[in-house]
């Protein structure tokens, strides 16, 4: 299976989950409501109620989206350069993104059930997973790009080949009859 097929598969899963969400019953105030006291401010209300029966559909929608972003990044590396080491690094990035997503989501669900916010680094644990975790899990891809640049993205051989191609494009072409006279 090629990587583009995996990308297509994940897109179809996202589409399927979106369609499923469109056909199930939507709880009241699923996107919040106006604040009772302050104009211009919204409230979310009871999180468990507004998740309704979509709790796990939503969980998988987030997880699939995160995985899709990692695989799309991998798709930017030429197939021949996707070595064993590259795949190990991508699996680490994907596992990190999934770990962060599920930790955040499950911590959020736990808060909704218990009301225990459990502050970590100035924010409720679930929010800290979002603010610090999501950003940092994406930064793993940045590290792969920076330190793997000459191995996976643009090798010295690629650079030489590109410079040759560019030089060739800049060389003025002589008409065929002039070639014959030289």
């Amino acid at each position: 299976m090629q990587l583009i097929h995996a990308v297509l598969g994940l897109l179809l899963v996202v589409l399927g989950l979106l369609i499923a969400l469109m056909v199930i019953d939507e709880p009241a105030f699923s996107t919040g409501a106006a604040h009772g006291l302050y104009a211009g401010m919204n409230v979310g209300g009871d999180g468990l109620v507004r998740l309704g029966s979509a709790t796990w559909l939503i969980g998988w929608l987030g997880a699939t989206s995160m995985l899709l972003m990692v695989l799309l990044s991998a798709f930017g590396v030429r197939a021949e350069r996707r070595s064993g080491v590259f795949w190990v690094l991508i699996v680490i990035a994907a596992a990190g993104a999934e770990f962060v997503w599920w930790s955040m989501y499950l911590e959020y669900l736990a808060f909704l059930r218990t009301g225990d916010a459990n502050f970590v680094l100035s924010f409720p644990a679930a929010t800290s997973w979002m603010l610090y975790g999501v950003w940092l899990s994406g930064a793993v891809l940045a590290l792969i790009y920076i330190f793997g640049f000459r191995h996976f993205v643009f090798t010295h051989a690629d650079e030489a080949a590109y410079e040759a191609l560019r030089a060739d494009a800049e060389t003025p072409r002589l008409p065929p009859e002039q070639h014959k006279t030289h």
Partner: protein, 498 residues
Amino acid sequence: MEAYRNEITIGFVAVYMIFCVVVGLWAMRRTHNASDFFIAGRGLGPVVIALAVFSTTLSGFGFVGGPGLVYSSGMSSMWMVIVASFGYAMGFFLIAKRIRMIAGVRNCISLPDVVAARYDSNWVRGLTAVTILLGVMGYLATQILAMALVLQSVLNATEMFAGVSLVACVVVSLGVLIFYSITGGIVASVYTDLVQGAIMAIAGLLILFTASSLFDNGLQTATEIILSDDAEAAMPYGTLGVIAAIGWGFVFGIGLSGQPHLVTKMMMNRKISDNRLIFPMSMIGYVLAALLWFSVGISMRAAVVGGELMPLEASDAAAPVFLAIFANPLLAGVVFAALFAAIMSTSDAFLNIGTAAVIHDLPQALRGKSLDNELFWSRVGMLIITLVAAAFAMYSYYGNDRLVALLGAFGWGTFAAAIVPVLALGLNWKRASAKAAVVAIVSSLLINFGVEIFSVRLPFGISGPFIALTVSMTLFIIVSLLSRPRQLAPDIDRIMEL
């Protein structure tokens, strides 16, 4: 110093505007042809590109609309920001290398040039140019209006300029924007971006410290206050719910690779190997600048809920009120200058790509060749586009805002849905076909425009751009797989092998 707060703010804004004019004059000497005007002759260094990339990404929305969204909806809108590391990763992995290669080998000066070279299709070129033009008009109109409103609020706070009209503010701010954009083209744009980016990053960091110092235990106290009022606002998905948050993350993460004003910057660097420096610098700069978005919104919501402040008249007032009440006058001056910087850096980037679409790409698509004396017509075209966008902005403010709202729908989400498959997938997959590119662009426009025109409300906060991006990427791959593979031009084929 407090007594001179307004004068200090005006001073910073005036110095910044004078700086833009000087840069425009300097850059004019370095602009000799259309290639210099649109892509700076592909000769820029990594620091300039990095700061230009991130300052272009974060428009005035990040300084006004972003904090306003956190004030009104808690953490929901943070999903537009925290996926930036994924967004930049996809942009650099999928696009940065090959867009620069094609631009270098085919002497491309615009994004539609690149897609025309990749697909060997004037249809794809023309549709991309039309999409860009529609998006640019909407974006530009809103940026011009925001710029004038901010200038008016700054001037009205003083005795000397109290009562200054909105039209006068449009004339002054547009005068500066037009001058440096037309005289210096993209060279002026990226060098002003350089300073704009630096100001934005510094301002973001300083505002975070200011916001943290407002509460006894920093932002934890602010979050506790918000949590006690409405727990969902302080939770990771905010008051709009999990799906709205995921949708924003999806469209702003994957969609970053489809923003023409941003990816065009990736055509301008001197060396492709500079990308490994540009990527981390632009990502870190963006995160620093976005700290303002987050910290102002959180602290203002907590201050109002905690009874420290009266409720705001509108959520978009969160940042201006914060600056007026809590920020040191010098810092407020810097941030107001940064706000102008954010709006102008995005506006000049849109002006640049919009002008390229009208003067370069559409004639190429329709006639098969460029206009004669392209540099002259580019300057004329840029002036006309600015004036038309300004007219839209004024019409929306004094008359009916429906037109700008419709064009605004062709904003980030439509660029994402229309351009991501064509560019991000197409530059990495030989099998991608011109027919698939046309289907992807048309489907994205139909879905985004349809949802806006018919005011379709989707359940759970699912957004039109979320559906449009998913559908357009899916259709692009399926139609390409079903199309008969076509032989690519030898140079493009070779580039796809690198």
